[in-house]
Amino acid sequence: MKFGIVRFPGSCDDVDALLAAQRVGEAVMLWHADSDLQGVDAVIVPGGFSYGDYLRAGAIARFAPMMEEVAEFARDGGLVLGICNGFQVLCEAGLLPGALLPNISLRFVCRQVRLDVMSEYSPFTRACPLGEPLSIPVKHTTGRYYAPEHGLADTQVLLRYAPGENPNGSDRDIAGVCNESGNVFGLMPHPEHAVDPLTGSSDGLAIFESIRAHVADRVVA
């Protein structure tokens, strides 16, 4: 299985995502200005501050040539994971519902949080242990999820901040959502920073494992 990580000018967690993905499969960088997906099985839009996050987080990056490829890949059912800034980019691109707004505190917050997994069937969470919260860090200034009044079914909410853990004021404690077809997923917490107990936790690995398992099943089928 091969992951592709989209690298924009200003991406910061691109290498981290690459290293995390390499724990479960192969992974390559995809340069924002290119238009070749290199035959990857899943795409990760990583965290950071693409284009400095100037104007609005994710607003400029969504127009990169590579993002057009990613949009098409998603329309064809390919798995796309957006982490933090990647989540913002996917919302701006209309691949995910909603928007990310400044934290209620108006401050950057870097903190380990507990997340409740809301679905055991999604391609992104199927390997998560049932009923156990995940310990994964968040780090962002613009992470308050705004859920649109229409166009977000409860089943699209894959992750919520555990009670009392919401770090940014997100609607209904939402930490991660998928699109209607379930193949595009965005979350503010950083699973790629939770893949090794030595650096804090390995709970995020389950997200990468889920993707790998889903792709493997699809290949068999």
């Binding site: 000018p9 200003g10 991406s11 910061c12 967690d13 290498v15 981290d16 290293l19 995390a20 950071g48 501050f49 284009y51 400095g52 996050d53 100037y54 400044p102 934290n103 505190s105 108006l106 401050r107 950057f108 917050v109 870097c110 903190r111 860090p137 780090k139 200034t141 613009t142 950083h190 790629e192 920073h193 893949v195 090794d196 030595l198 650096t199 804090g200």
Partner: protein
């Protein structure tokens, strides 16, 4: 006076541009004219040193063909004017120093000093905005801010200190120097457009050059652009990776003037530089404005002519502006051209080496230079009340409200985050790890500059020992008042002597640093504040030590020589004592031995926790171990003189460690046991860990004004 000297070395009157260049290069900031002689006292050699002082950052070997480059630098004056941008550009500047030597920045630490937050709204504002600025730059560029320190004292009310340290990693082969090489080679400017940023800062120029009405055109506040620097950083590292550069230098204070003069001077060569080719952000800039502009996010490099197209290609890919602005010459002159016209022509040696050096005239003060602080404690408190007052005091309270605003994990190396251990720990590719600590206690240095400065070195080394790391090298930033004043000169001379002796005693070389003088208000100088940043290595990241008590039933031991006293302590401060008196005398050999004992035990995986006893003394150290681990402790030793024994300080020499009793016995004196949910010191105090935590958590939080803008 200095003008006469310029006449002598030049043999003629300088023109306005040349005078501007001289006045910048001969400023304290660039020439170190009051400190250079003194700095020679610092030991700079050691088996691991790869780059010593003189380069943009020092570097030491960390094994496996890797080098770690690091430096600490001040941005005090700009931050006092505009704390957000001042602190942000301080981080931007120190990052450039590190990637200027070819290292990828992997960690930032910050050392901050402000006035008393309870008394001063301005100090709360400076704290809020400086922290936001540091976070803004470091978070956006994707370099983890893994540690730092903050002290509050009224002596910093008018002069806050913002020191930032950066540490980077490079394969040995990628390290590069800044010396210009090879006449005929091309001088290339990389990065941001040049605007009128920071020109007002060169105050010497104000009278000579600026008409009244022009003031507005010359913004002195520099705005940091981490996005541009991120691209510049990636671009420079790729250029080095592809072996396309001959030399590399960042643009910092005094912009092109300083960068070009330094490059030429180090290479013993000359440079021709055409200001007409420098890409400008604003129309109509004069040559001198281009030469002194302090616009951020720019680098200067030397490239062989045949490789210029390759350099341009890499820059294009990263969307980094890249302009040929001159050439290396062999005539030893820095010639400034504006197209075909020569607008300045100076001998490099005169500019860089012939700045007059001044001898300090130190004189020890007879009475303390600093007034007594307003007392917070009267003296009638119980030990428990004293402990809680200390834990909740601004200097000891939890730094969580600050460090949560920093991304401490980007890079996937952070093994010990803030609050988890005494030093930050970053994993290296081969399974070993780096440990970093930054420290400096101005109150103690004010009491006794020589001993206080030595303590800063000891404490950094002790912090490293707590995670199991052996020191490899250190960097320092000397923040002092006006060196032309004899008492300040004395502080400076004594502090450098103390640093030098401590470094010699521990065998740690100084590989770089920075000096910030004239931190003075009409009410007097800041506390003398040498800040030490130390880097060490531990063989096995998975055995990095941590601070919190963990196992019910573990023994607690006191390791190392411990002779606490109240002089210069936090308790003395809370009781309203001026920073004066003799600090405890530490025997360097015993300190070194204690550090080795703890370090070896941590490396062997023999301890559950390790923590050095610093500000607040033994009781505060124990409380911190309890809070970090969420478990209580009970001492079983008799306390006779509780004020001194529990709250006296002797930083950098003694430790509180926990582990199995049979392991601890040979290391030190077993004084108690881990367990329960209270901290019990028989005959003195008994406080619930939850209460310790609550008080410690709220100490700084209560002064955190709320943010108004989201950056």
């Amino acid at each position: 006076m200095e003008y006469e000297l310029i006449l002598a070395v030049l043999g003629r009157h300088p023109n306005d541009l040349e005078l501007a260049m001289f006045s910048l290069m001969w400023s304290e900031h660039c020439s170190y004219k009051h400190s250079k002689r003194l700095l020679r006292r610092l030991p700079t050699e050691g088996p691991h040193v790869l780059l010593g002082p003189g380069e943009n950052a020092g570097a030491v070997d960390v094994g496996d063909g890797l080098a770690v480059a690091f430096k600490v630098e001040s941005h005090n004056h700009p931050s006092a004017v505009e704390p957000f941008q001042g602190a942000a550009t301080g981080v931007g500047g120190i990052l450039r120093d590190v990637f200027a030597v070819g290292a990828r920045p992997i960690a930032i630490l910050d050392s901050l000093r402000f006035g008393e937050p309870a008394a001063s709204e301005r100090s709360r504002y400076l704290l809020e905005r400086a922290v936001a600025g540091i976070g803004h730059y470091g978070n956006s560029i994707g370099v983890a801010t893994v540690g730092g320190e903050i002290y509050f004292d009224q002596a910093y009310e008018q002069n806050c200190l913002i020191n930032a340290m950066c540490l980077g990693l490079a394969p040995h082969g990628r390290l590069i120097r800044s010396a210009a090489v090879g006449p005929g080679n091309v001088l290339v400017l990389l990065g941001a457009l040049t605007g009128r940023d920071g020109i007002g800062g060169a105050s010497v120029l104000a009278s000579a050059e600026f008409g009244e009405g022009d003031a507005d055109k010359r913004p002195s506040v520099q705005i940091g652009d981490p996005f541009t620097e991120k691209k510049l950083l990636e671009c420079c590292l790729e250029l080095l990776e592809d072996d396309l550069l001959v030399s590399l230098q960042d643009l910092g204070a005094a912009g092109l003037t300083s960068a070009s003069a330094e490059m030429a001077s180090k290479g013993g060569l000359g440079l021709d530089l055409d200001v007409g080719r420098v890409p400008l952000r604003e129309p109509g800039m004069e040559p001198f404005e281009v030469m002194v502009s302090e616009s951020q996010e720019r680098m200067l490099c030397v490239v062989t002519p045949d490789l210029v197209p390759d350099v341009i290609a890499v820059c294009d890919r990263w969307e980094v502006l890249c302009t040929e602005i001159g050439a290396v010459t062999d005539n030893g002159r820095l010639r400034v051209l504006d197209g075909a016209e020569v607008v300045g022509d100076l001998p490099v040696a005169a500019l860089v080496d012939e700045c007059p050096m001044y001898n300090l005239e130190p004189e020890a003060p007879i009475v303390s230079l600093y007034p007594s602080p307003a007392p917070v404690l009267g003296g009638g408190e119980t030990p428990a009340e004293v402990l809680l007052a200390l834990l909740g005091s601004p200097n000891l309270a939890s730094r969580r409200p600050v460090f949560e605003q920093y991304d401490c994990i980007v890079g996937s190396r952070t093994v010990r985050r803030p609050d988890a251990a005494d030093a930050a720990v970053l994993e290296l590719p081969g399974g070993a790890a780096l440990a970093i600590s930054i420290d400096g206690n101005g109150r103690r240095v004010a009491c006794d500059p020589r001993a206080g400065a030595a303590e800063a070195v000891y404490e950094c080394s002790a912090n490293l020992a707590c995670v199991g790391a052996e020191p490899l090298g250190l960097t320092n930033c000397l923040n002092f008042g006006n060196p032309e004043k004899p008492h300040v000169a004395w502080q400076l001379v004594e502090a450098v002597e103390g640093l030098a002796r401590a470094c010699e005693a521990l065998g740690v070389p100084v590989v770089g640093g920075n000096v910030s003088l004239y931190n003075e208000a009409p009410t007097g100088p800041i506390l003398p504040t040498p800040v030490v940043g130390m880097v060490g290595r531990l063989p096995d990241a998975s055995r990095a030590g941590q601070i919190g008590f963990t196992n019910d039933g573990d023994a607690i031991a006191l390791v190392g020589p411990f002779a606490p006293s109240l002089t210069g302590s936090e308790l003395a401060k809370l009781r309203g004592a001026a920073p004066a008196g003799d600090l405890p005398v530490m025997e360097p050999g015993a300190v070194r031995e204690a550090h080795a004992t703890v370090r070896d035990a941590v490396c062997a995986g023999a301890l559950s926790s390790a923590h050095d006893i610093a500000e607040g003394g033994l009781a505060v150290a124990l409380a911190e171990c309890c809070v970090a681990g969420g478990i209580g402790a009970r001492l079983k030793v008799r306390i006779d003189d509780w004020v001194r024994e529990l709250f006296g300080e002797a930083p950098g020499c003694a430790f509180v460690v926990s582990g199995a009793e049979e392991v601890l016995g040979p290391l030190g004196r077993v004084i108690g046991r881990v367990g329960g949910d209270t901290l019990v010191i028989p005959g003195a105090l008994e406080v619930a860990v939850s209460e310790l935590r609550a008080v410690r958590d709220n100490g700084l939080l209560q002064y955190a004004s709320s943010a108004v803008w989201s950056e």
